[in-house]
Amino acid sequence: MAVQLEFLKSILYFSDLGLAELESIRKLVFEKTADRAEIILLEGESAENLYFVASGVVKVFKTSAEGKEQILSIVRPGESFNDVPIFDGGSNPASARTMGPVLLYGIKKNDMKAILRDHPQIALNVIKVLAMRVRHLVSLVEDLSFKHVIGRVAKILFEHVGGEMGRGPRLTQQEMAAMAGTAREVVGRSLKVLEEEGAIKLDRHRIIITDKEALQRIMEVPS
């Protein structure tokens, strides 16, 4: 299936280009399909391609030495990933895995450099994309470094426990994130950490506080 010009035009990188310019870029774009849970990029490996999501969703994440995963971004249709190493020449700073079946459009690193040379007007949009990425990551750094998010999530769980007989208010991870003043991605990881520490157990739609004292200790860690 040929890459649609309309799709290329909808990508922020190329939104200011005319049809003739898009046509020349289209020749450099290749398609890649992947099923659910396929690794597209591995952190630390050499970066070869810039990718745009045409359909489906890709998760960009880092993994700690202990195997803990921190989502950096959720990449939806029209958005790109792996931009940074394509331009700085370094290795992949994070891994990327599909969250379902996906169709990706890729451009090889050298082809992207040629596109920038031939169409310098896209540079401003590239800067805009990279600036948005920096802003997002700065916010994530703040959440992960300066806020004791796990303690806040622990406190939120305590404050929203249902009664013995009746149901308490039910909370989504999005709501917990808003209450804790953090990103949804950070709450997911916090819940996993609390589970690993034995304070809670995730049981489908229930969060069971299995060790009240442990949760209290985590809650009381100063920020």
């Binding site: 489906g56 039910r170 989504t172």
Partner: protein
Amino acid sequence: MAEIPVIDPKKCDGCGLCVGVCHLNALAIVNNIITIIEAVECDWCADCELVCLTGAISCPFEIIIQEP
């Protein structure tokens, strides 16, 4: 009755991202609105909630204390 994710049809724009990420194939777009077709299969991974840009589907948790 099986617990199912909560859908707000007014917020759903029918983009279908949640359908693609549901690893149990519990979701489908019916008449441009997200619909649960296999509720009993939902394992509450909340990926649908994570990818939804409009907040149309959510997986709220009930929080309980396990008494010793």
